[in-house]
Amino acid sequence: MSEELELLEGTAAIAKSAIAAGMTFFAGYPMSPFTGLLESLSAMMPEAGGVCINAESEIEGVNMTLGAGAAGARAGTGSCGQGIALMQEAIAEAALNETPFVVFNLARGASDYFQCTKGGGWNDYRTITLAPKSVHEAVEHTQLAFHLADKYRAPAIVYGDPLMARTTVGINIKKLDFGDLPQKDWALDGSMSGTGKSRQVWTWAMGKVTDPGPEMDAHWRYIAEKFNTIDGIEQRHEELWCDDADTIVVAWGTGALFAEKAVSELRKAGHKVGIFRPITLWPFPGPALERVAEGKRVLVFEANAGQCLEDVYQWVPRRRVTFIGRVSVDHTGMNFGDIMDAPVVRQLILEHLDNQAATAGANQ
């Protein structure tokens, strides 16, 4: 059965997917390459019955989104890493006061891994982070992020880059079903005002004097426990050609696409290489990596100084891990740089395989 395909640029496809997921509020502040998403939503949201605000700052945008989320709407905001740095206080606040929304980091490259996964806000919190490798996957992750945000009442991040934002694809966007969710009976709509059972969205969870809440200590322990639960349930990853491999390349986001191409060529040339791709950067699929990489060499490829690398170290002994990425910027400000190129990745992997062979030979 053939389906109708539509030609859409990445940002427009993500915008359409967010609307299909039921997003009715979006607020963002321009920054390339995220800007395309803001422009697409400005054009599409009114027709879809939603609201898109060109916020006056990232801080205002994320707090508007927090308000809309607290009122029960599916709400989103976005920027690049630099703008999302300004949103950290509100992302942490939402994790603590349990307000779901989705943050689109259509970033200028792969250097926001720490920001997404470790956060820059206050207190014990985590942010679910999905790192799609393509526009098609970003479209799916957009809807999954809204589902996970609502399921766990926590902000979730979709982390893309200029390649994802600006690649045009033929695609068919439908509403995806990830299962039922509980009613948002906690959402603020004013209907409980004056009933003696009015609602409260509050990081401190003090409750009302007539109906005390758990208060900070118990509430924050509960939040920490909730993130432990998410860690146990929501890890996602992809394995390619790992079974017969003696070397595993760890790569994520669009970087993984280049690594896939390079590794497929190397395999044709007889090298036993596989790929492990974390799809959720947090929760990091550590146990799966540990299993896949057992007894094997691990090469970590990412276009930054070694951020995912730190998570890999938690699960694979350091002596078996080699970092083959590097800071890689270009002159467009979009920070792809030289290593986002399949022949370059192939060479980086090959150099390591040759070194290995040489070392193995020297040991004999």
């Binding site: 607290a70 005002s193 969205v201 509050w202 007539t210």
Partner: protein, 267 residues
């Protein structure tokens, strides 16, 4: 350097002075219990006026509050209203998000001068410029009451605070910001007024302003703001009973009372 015109004695404000009483009794219907603020504080009076106004207008069951960070933050526990306790300064932005997805609700913010005029000045100005249909209630006492009486952007010239020990000196600390005038100057604001709760007349007029501001929201006239001067004897370092006098002699000289803007023209 100009010396402050008036020096008032520093008093022990950790215990109520003899003969003082709490200025606002709990209103049993929308105020769930006693407040925990200082004797002589103006903020509970303002809260009571706001709650009564919601009741008088018959809009309680669609009212949503967004409360910032200051002593009034503790009202989140005693007001029987669906409430978002938001980040410091961000209430107008959060209120924007709420109102845009629930246009039939009545959304108000409760903020202090530190919250609105220091940390969140751009939020209230931009929200007013966007003509958001929300009502902002500013409790202006010219200090960070909650953190112990430091200077804010509305501290008046000559006012002693913990970070302007010899009084606010323009040469050192600059000038106070009349935020209501700024908001009134923007086309997106519908109603702007400044009242006080220092005496019965002020209380009566301020309640009228709050009701007009909420009505303006119901009529879709853009952002409405009521700035209420509230006594903070603790942060002003004056006896509780002296609050209204001190307010009259200091803050009211810088911030004149009245309606600055209403649909169809001011007073």
């Amino acid at each position: 350097m100009s010396a402050p015109s008036k020096q008032l004695p520093i008093v022990d404000s950790t215990t109520p002075p003899d003969g003082t009483v709490k200025v606002a009794d709990p209103n049993p219907s929308l105020i769930l219990g006693a407040h925990s603020l200082c004797p002589g504080c103006g903020e509970p009076v303002a809260l009571r006026l706001l709650m009564e106004s919601l009741q008088d207008l018959g809009i309680v069951d669609r009212s949503i509050g967004v409360v910032g960070h200051g002593c009034y933050g503790s009202f989140v526990r005693i007001m029987d209203i669906d409430v978002l306790q938001c980040l410091h300064g961000r209430a107008p932005s959060c209120a924007t998000g709420i109102k845009r997805v629930r246009p039939d609700s009545v959304v108000f913010t409760l903020q202090g001068d530190g919250d609105m005029v220091n940390e969140g000045l751009q939020e209230v100005l931009h929200s007013a410029a966007r003509a958001e249909n929300i009502t902002c209630i500013l409790l202006n006492n010219g200090v960070f009451g909650d953190t112990g009486g430091q200077a804010t952007a509305t501290t008046v010239v000559g006012q002693r605070t913990k970070t302007s020990l010899d009084g606010r000196d323009p040469a050192k600390h600059g000038y106070p910001i009349p935020v209501s005038d700024l908001v009134a100057s923007l086309d997106g604001s519908g109603y702007v007024a400044r009242g006080h709760v220092g005496d019965p007349g002020g209380v009566t007029r301020t309640k009228k302003m709050i009701k007009e501001a909420l009505q303006s929201q119901l009529d879709g006239n853009g952002l409405s703001l009521v700035e209420i001067l509230t006594m903070c004897p603790t942060g002003w370092f004056v006896p509780a009973g002296e609050g209204p006098n001190y307010q009259q002699q200091s803050m009211e000289q810088t911030y004149p009372m009245g309606v600055l803007k209403r649909p169809g023209g001011a007073d």
